[in-house]
């Protein structure tokens, strides 16, 4: 592991030396963002710029500090790396600036589909795409003689066969940890059932309906084939189960697929037979039970124009087409010009081709996500009915939305 880190750091340095030559900035840059390999690569590309200091604070806790660090004037962070869910919190508080003039001046290497425009103004520059999709064990599916599932119903049937044949006790994996993860699985499945979260054009929630109940029932059915501790399993714990060879079928993030078989102690069967496929459908529908995500960077509003320009130049350098090489190509599904999809990217590409819904960029979606995360675990434990759980989530959301001024 250590050697790999050193090797990785080495490759960053080499890349920094090659790409950094042309990048010159005139003011400080300070980036806050999530912590995974692709974002490290982007931040290191930005750090290759010379002329002023470039700092980066990359942490899994970024959402708790980015708003606090950008709301002051002058802002501590000149840029936050966000996703389509987390840009909303920054938009709500009006702490990021439109980038149109900077795109015109320094954005020659950006592709049009990288620009996130809101009401006609560019508010962020996306550099990678992500989605949850099926990850499976080809050898186990061979053994029971079924094709790779394309729907959750097929997945359930396969899981039953795997258990009956005694191959695995709990063949299904899922990040069902109470809180954000559980709510995200609800979102996926609800969209797969063709559900709408809100009454059109309003902040009024509407999930307590047929699609919502069907969603919860499918989640419950899946959980019967999961490790009984599923309410404590986040993506990391789910991956660990897969790596240990305890799980044959799971819905997993594309950004984690490439490195899944690539850790210490991974069972040989997983290394040899791991497969990736697109997201599944559910309930006979054609909508993918998944959401599409982008990760991108923003520029703070409460900083000087010089700092904003420097930030833009540095981060544009971080996602310069020259950064793509064998190693970085594996890290993500890049939206950068010249990117050639690798084998691990199949799932995310399939998700995009199926017309999977992007995670909604609504000011109040975060409140619904939190409410679902807190209220659905009682149903998953069999303590209340699906309708009760959905009514609870709706009531929790409504109280929060009233507090935030989205509802009267």
């Amino acid at each position: 592991m250590m050697f790999k880190r050193i090797a990785l750091a080495g490759s960053f340095l080499a890349f920094a030396a090659s790409a950094g030559a042309a990048c010159e900035i005139g003011a400080r840059v300070n980036i806050v963002g999530n912590e995974f390999p692709a974002i490290h690569t982007v931040a290191n590309g930005a750090k290759a710029c010379t002329g002023a200091e470039v700092k980066a604070n990359l942490t899994a806790e970024h959402q708790k500090i980015n708003l606090a660090g950008m709301i002051g004037n002058p802002a501590e962070y000149t840029s936050a790396i966000v996703a389509n869910s987390s840009i909303v919190a920054l938009m709500n508080e009006d702490v990021i600036r439109p980038l149109d003039d900077l795109v015109a001046k320094h954005g020659q290497n950006l592709q049009k589909n990288q620009l996130i425009t809101i009401n006609g103004e560019v508010m962020a520059v996306a550099f990678m795409a992500n989605a949850q999709h099926l990850v499976f064990r080809a050898d186990v599916l061979n053994e029971i003689g079924v094709e790779v599932p394309t729907s959750y119903e097929e997945l359930l049937a396969a899981a039953q066969m795997i258990r009956e044949k005694g191959i695995m006790e709990n063949p299904v994996g899922g990040a069902y940890k109470a809180g954000w993860n559980l709510a995200q699985e609800f979102n996926n499945m609800y969209l797969g059932h063709g559900g709408e979260f809100f009454k059109a054009g309003t902040a009024e929630v509407s999930i307590n309906n047929e699609a919502g109940v069907a969603t919860l029932e499918m989640m419950k059915a899946l959980s019967e084939y999961m490790n009984p501790d599923f309410l404590t399993h986040d993506s990391n714990a789910t991956n660990a189960e897969f790596r240990a060879g305890n799980v044959a079928l799971m819905n997993m993030w594309g950004s984690r697929a490439a490195t899944l078989a690539d850790a210490e102690g991974v069972v040989q069967g997983v290394k040899d037979h791991m497969g990736v496929a697109g997201p599944m459908t559910v309930g006979g529908g054609s909508d993918a039970a998944s959401t599409l995500w982008w990760d991108g960077w923003t520029v703070a509003k409460n900083i000087s124009d010089e700092e904003a320009e420097a930030t833009f130049i540095a981060l544009a350098n971080g996602i310069h087409p020259d950064m793509l090489n064998e190693e970085t190509s594996l890290e993500a599904v890049w939206l950068i010009e010249g990117y050639e999809p690798t084998e691990a990217a199949v799932g995310v590409f399939a998700a995009a081709q199926m017309g999977t819904e992007p995670y909604p960029m609504l000011p109040f979606m975060g409140l619904l996500h939190s409410a679902l995360g807190a209220e659905l675990s009682d149903f998953m434990q069999g303590k209340e009915s699906a309708a009760e759980a959905l009514a609870g989530a709706e009531a929790a959301y409504t109280a929060a939305a009233k507090e935030k001024g989205f509802l009267n």
Binding site: D94, G120, A400
Partner: protein, 341 residues
């Protein structure tokens, strides 16, 4: 002490208390009665890598005007206190009307976040606090009767649970009690049930958290009681021995009454600490089974959209809870103090 002398003597700590205790309280209280302004929404077209879509967003210009004219937000009085996330006045009344038995009423209540947190918090407080005191006393008595060469080493090891950071301690135990972990597997073997999982059942999760709470806090009680044991009146103990008192009788009639003021002290601190139980819930990923007030505050501030007013309201309610909990102990201390005069 002269009043003048007392004033100057007290001034620095009085100022510090004002700054670090009174002002934050006022600030939390203020934030709990104000909410953000109504958001002016508008529908716009958003475009990105996956195409364009009509979506709702906040009209920043219109909202900025509202904010500038009244930066504190909108005064709502007790609205947040009474909403579903807190005291849930309307929901409780509705539950009272619609249920015909007390148990059904409480089942309805346990669906509301505040009351669900209250039930776990109270169970935690009233099991962990007495058991911590008993465990601490037992360890202190045991260590005190050891040979002096052994004492140092044993004291060091008994303090370890307190020295280990709560988050780390609970994480280590979390992995050990996993159904594939050391303790989890051992429990499955002993009970003969291969599907037994501490993390999948609410009662077992509660027991785990309570055991962790005692494990973590017992060293604190131990240290305090051990210090107290060093001041035991030896002549009283000896005379009890001559009178034929057994070891148990000596503990019950001489040692425990001597340590009583320390028991009150430990109980006070533990009641406060346990009421604010937080780290084990995160460390054990127990959110699905057990919530506490501190966890609710954390959850409000943790989401993608932060709920400041809601978190402040829960903070105020926590402070009130601690105050109510401590009242009997404080009254007792006050009476002791007046009695001594």
């Amino acid at each position: 002490m002269k009043h003048r002398t007392f004033f100057w003597f007290f001034l620095p700590s009085g100022l510090a208390m004002l700054l670090f205790i009174a002002f934050p309280l006022v600030s939390v209280l203020t934030q709990s009665v104000f909410t953000p302004h109504e958001a002016v929404l508008m529908t716009v077209e958003n475009c990105g890598p996956f195409g364009c879509k009509e979506e709702t967003t906040i009209d920043q210009e219109a909202t900025a005007e509202l904010r500038d004219s009244n930066p504190l937000g909108k005064f709502v009085g007790a609205q947040i206190y009474l909403d579903r996330g807190h005291l849930a006045a309307a929901e409780v009344a509705e539950a009272w009307r619609s249920t015909d038995s007390v148990s059904a009423f409480f089942a309805e209540l346990s669906d509301l976040p505040f009351y669900s947190a209250l039930s776990f918090t109270l169970v935690f407080v009233f099991t962990v606090t007495p058991l911590t005191i008993v465990a601490g006393l037992m360890i202190a008595l045991a260590v005190n009767s050891l040979h002096r060469h052994l004492k140092g080493l044993v004291i060091f090891f008994s303090l370890l649970p307190m020295i280990v950071t709560p988050m780390v301690g609970s994480l280590i135990l979390f992995w050990m009690i996993d159904s594939r972990g050391v303790i989890g597997t051992a429990l499955q073997y002993i009970s003969g049930d291969p599907t037994l999982s501490l993390k999948a059942s609410t009662p077992l999760t509660w027991i785990t958290l309570i055991v962790y709470g005692i494990w973590h806090a017992a060293p604190f009680a131990f240290v305090v009681f051990y210090a107290g044991l060093q001041t035991l009146p030896q002549d009283q103990l000896e005379s009890a021995q001559i009178d034929g008192a057994t070891r148990w009788q000596r503990v019950k009639y001489v040692i425990v009454p001597h340590l009583m003021p320390l028991v009150t002290f430990v109980a006070l601190i533990q009641l406060m600490d346990n009421f604010r139980v937080f780290e084990p819930i995160i460390g054990f990923s127990a959110e699905a089974h057990a919530q506490s007030f501190s966890w609710i505050i954390f959850n409000d501030m943790h989401g993608e959209t932060q709920l400041l007013s809601s978190a402040s309201t829960t903070s105020v309610l926590t402070i009130l809870g601690v105050a109510i909990l401590l009242t009997p102990v404080l009254i007792r201390t006050w009476q002791d103090f007046k009695g001594k005069k």
